[in-house]
Amino acid sequence: MTIMTDPPRGEFRLSMLLSDTRYRSLTLQAIAALVLALSIFLLARNVATNLAAQGLDISFDFLGTPAGYDINQRLIEYTSQSSNLRAAIVGILNTLLVAFLACVTATVFGVLAGVLRLSNNWLVSKLMAFYVEIFRNIPVLIWILIIFTIMTAVLPGPRAFRGDEPEASMLFNAFAFTNRGIYTPLPFFQRGFGGGLDFLLVLLLLVGSFFGARAVTARATRIQEATGERPATLLTNLAIWFGPLVAVSLILGLSFELPELKGFNFKGGITIRGSLIALWFALSIYTGAFIAENVRAGIQAVSKGQTEAAAALGLRPGRTMSLVVLPQALRIIIPPLISNYLNITKNSSLAIAVGYMDVTGTLGGVTLNQTGRAIECVLLLMLFYLVISLSISAGMNVYNNTMKLKER
């Protein structure tokens, strides 16, 4: 900061360590290093003494021993005989599942509410302002608990679906909303190859359709630039997206396994537990309110001159939005959007309040309590979240650098 231009005079004195700007920063850093080392040493010694007093040690052996508890919502095979490590992995996958689902729906809610809040319609914009204020100012934990209560205390039990004149009935005979969770049909292929191969095939098809549709759009743009006439692409694109999909479904024999009431509970289909729904919905509707504010701020930040310039060029309002306003607004919207995704991932640790077995529930909850390995479990837990957060921020930095306005 301060640039010293006069050459050093006289010889070194001890007081120069504090009074001379050349040495002072070295002195301060030496003191900081000393304090840091001392506090790390003291903390380590405290930990060692405290652990020794309780006859404990630091060891990660517990990860290999059988977990001994069950997890009802899981994406991979898991039994109570599986190791604690596998339980942690089930938890990690559950965290990623709910975080991913909530990110998608929160974006939908947020963009919708943010755009509608700028609507000319007085009633709609006021309603959206109401939504944003209500959800931003009440803790997400309370929202999770409220929606979990709806899922468990308000929805009917499976028993209500029985009998000749049941109190509750299934939606389209395929979806059952019960207090044990939501049961939905499970798609499968009658003449499929078995395993995950069929779904891989469908995924490949979708990727192929994506590139096909892009090629069609690019060709249309080329023709437009050459001749001024844009060929219609809507029907071609629809055919590219849905044609192969329908064909493959027919060939492989796509059908659905419907949930059925057997005994006291529904069997078959996909079960989505109430805890997952509560967490998913609460996180997306809460974060959606924050995203709505970002979207609104982003759109409003594009100066009015841009819209007017677009109008002066003769662009219609729809094209003004898609070609002029949105590309500039996205530059402002996306960084806070990504940090909201990060918040969703971190807030998904509140799963423990409703008994959804995410990584906080398995590794930081049951495993910690059963093995008593507090330090190891909490450290692993923090490490997991840290890796996720740092990789998302690294991605964000790359994005920001590519999107930065290039100024000269």
């Binding site: 504090l18 920063s25 609507s119 319609n121 100012n137 507090a374 979240y385 840290l386």
Partner: protein, 432 residues
Amino acid sequence: MSDQSTNSVAFVRTEEVAAKPPPNTAAGPVKWVKDNLFATPANSILTIIALYVVFLVLSGALPWIMNGIWESPSLKACREILDGESGACFAVLTERWNQLIFGFKYPTDLYWRPGLAFVLLFFAAAPVLFFDLPRKLLIITALFPFVAYWLIWGGAIWAPVTALLGIVAAYVFYSRFVAQNFALGFFGGIAIAFLVWILCGYIFPSSEITEGAMRSVPSRDLGGFMFNMMLGVTCVSLSIPIGIALALGRQSSMPLIKWICVVFIEFVRGVPLITLLFVASVMLAYLFPPGSNPDLFIRVVIMITLFSSAYIAEVIRGGLAALPKGQYEAADSLGLDYPQAMRLIILPQALKISIPGIVNVAVGLFKDTTLVSVISMFDIVGMIRGPILASTEWNGVYWELFGFASVLFFVVCYGISQYSQWLERRLATDHK
């Protein structure tokens, strides 16, 4: 001229005709409705959908609230009074009011103490929040933490008085020497404070003195919304100075200090608050010296303060970065040293820019205080989920209780954010 025109033209109006009012469809409420609700077909559909949603919500909620029962000993009795009709059972709020606000173990006859502390909080906060009030009132703010501590926890008056004496001594020393050298004033002040505390510890051994003692209440007996308020106020006020220090450290040209601050901030911002609360409840005990068993309240305050200070540091770093470089250069050219430049030129402006961000962090932090219910502390959410919903009388009264907690948080958080908007307008010195 005039003669000719009177002859040739049959009639000329001599006075102006008053303008007619616009037709009903182009003015007043009709026009407003047409422009704002039914401008286009799409807009009309949106309006109708919105009206239907409003109708659905109101038709469900209004009878429920209007029919609310405020006096009843239990949910069962309440349902009998309602006799199958839709209606809320607000009786749980009147019956369990004290538990919701103060927790279930705070001595009943001592409720006036936290109540008084709550009232004093407004007097203490007022001079900080509103600059027009006389600056002398800041003395109340300075005294408040000690008075509030004594009121809520009770115990011998010597503890807060000793703490206050140390702070006063440090302040006197600081204001005497800060003009000469900031470092001398600051670090000397801290040393003096510790000296006073140690001396006082010798003079009045706290366990023996009982004069001026109020009945003491242990931390584990605190609870309810009071607990959320205490955590929120304490952690926000502690984390702002730490956040400033961290932000300045992150801007520092000294690599070691910068590195320490960056690692700390990124670490804390990368993990969820729950894991830090786990640290407070199960791990922090291992980090303290053997034999000392710090109170769970203090452990939680430490972790939440560290958490929010990292976020506040990032907000203030944004403020520091937003200042034009000329401000730093101007401070240098005036010959100010680093502490002077920061205190007199940089921080006042940077903090002003950071106010909205700091308020956002404060609101978020206040909402996050509910997470302590996860580590089985009985704040308002913990009280609702634990003792109240588990009791035989009130098992099943979800909406009234969660609704009440939501209203409390909404009032506080919305109030704070409105204040910050007012403050932003108030502090705006640029021309719009």
